[in-house]
Amino acid sequence: MHNKTIAELINGLDAGEFSSVELTQSYLDRISSLDQHLNSFITVTSEWALEQARQADSQRAAGQAGLLNGIPLAQKDIFCTKGIKTSCGSRMLDPFISPYNATVIEKFNASGAVMLGKTNMDEFAMGSSNETSWYGPVKNPWALEAVPGGSSGGSAAAVAARLTPAATGTDTGGSIRQPASFCGVTGLKPTYGRVSRYGMIAFASSLDQAGTITRTAEDAALLLKVMAGLDLRDSTSVDKEVPDYTESLNNELDGLKIGLPREYFSEGLDDAVAKVIEDAIKEYEKMGAVVSEISLPNSKLAVPTYYIIAPSECSSNLSRMDGVRFGHRCENPRDLNDLYIRSRGEGFGPEVKRRILVGTYALSEGFYDAYYVKAQKARRLISNDFNNAFENVDVIMGPAAPSAAFNIGELTDDPITMYLSDIYTIAVNLAGLPGMSIPAGFVNNRPVGLQLIGRHFDEAKLLNIAHKFQTVTDWHAQGPGQFV
């Protein structure tokens, strides 16, 4: 059962081959026996999952099955879940039981989906390796000494290890696509504003976007259909019709114009990764796509721009964690400043502190124009590069990350090298574009993802392009030996 995709599980439930209770129990059993090797879940909600599965089974029996009726899913622990611990990977929110549901959670509930639990992640989604989680690092199911990527590393590892058919993720600078690449699964980061951010704990509000981690593009299409759409509770949510993403999956790619940015194939890219990506592009040429080289001349500005904008927004967003209204509070505060300083000092880990400090500095009096405004201007140049490129091509392709998964502990002493592991994904968030990573091969038995970048709101086309690749290759169907 655990090797089936969501599309196959829906057919199985429809045909009465198994019930949602049986399906849910089988995943809970896998989590309980296998997650000790991975640490991909922070909270497993067994009782709640079985209760939801029972409800799903009765709804199905009554002919009221929603789109994802009875399908088990895991939720990144950044989404607020009513009555259930929502930690965001931080000691600060370890005591936090959310009093309300994120819109994404409400939408999954309404569709009949079942929540297996909350997945591990880098603290407040700040990290590229899942090593900043207060709950300990997640292991990569393909190589237990390697990181799964981050920040949605728990979600990617759990999907790769078949502990859940799919999971949610969030992507501020690559946090869905880079772990999807490292774990050999399909990651989709939609257009900024496509999915509601309400109840999704904010990191950098002008960049954050929720998306999916699945085994196939078809499953991503099923999930996005449920998640997307206008939400008046999120002022940046966009009022635009949600298409049926499954309808166009099989469209032909004959004549598709693919652009390969030369900046994504230069210095810093692992040669073996480059070879995997070049081979993947050849598959598209066989399907009739036309490939041309393009340039995104301001690519080198993406990482520095991001490391002003994201920390600035994070320093502002995380000021709500004050030890007064919710979350961690220090013992015996002497006065109000002592309460704030020690509660925050104890509650946040080193990477979160680094980013709060950088952001506070960049926004402080006298530096705002030199840093924040300068970065916002560079952001427009980066965005303009994509607009220019999309005048001539339909989709941009390249690597999702410069290497396959690195080892746990390999980059922890060097924040900047760690930041560079998001070098190919960050610009997409700055421009608000949709992006995907799909399994395209292996380097030393570790997965490598092909990144697809589309125009704003072109998710249907990206899913079509990803799905067609998955009909002619089987990289996405392979699983890590110990877990299949």
Partner: protein
Amino acid sequence: MSTLDKSDVEKIAFLARLGIDEQDIPEYAANLSNILDMVEQLNSVDTDNVKPMAHPLDGVQRLRPDEVTETNDRENLMAHAPETEAGLFLVPRVVE
């Protein structure tokens, strides 16, 4: 412009009301200086006539009518506060 020393880090940490162990300050100072050095690359491009981009779709703030939409949920929302009394959040004495 971008080498930070111990007193800079202490000042920024206080602005952020963020406790940092004394022994970790040199490492934060070094990390922050390196990050700011990396960011210096932005000065290599001319952005004089570029409009700052605050929102990736250049969206504007959506407004709604000023109507009461949420019910009072004080008890539920305060249930997770570290210390409360009589429907109020407790903090150390502020006014002597």
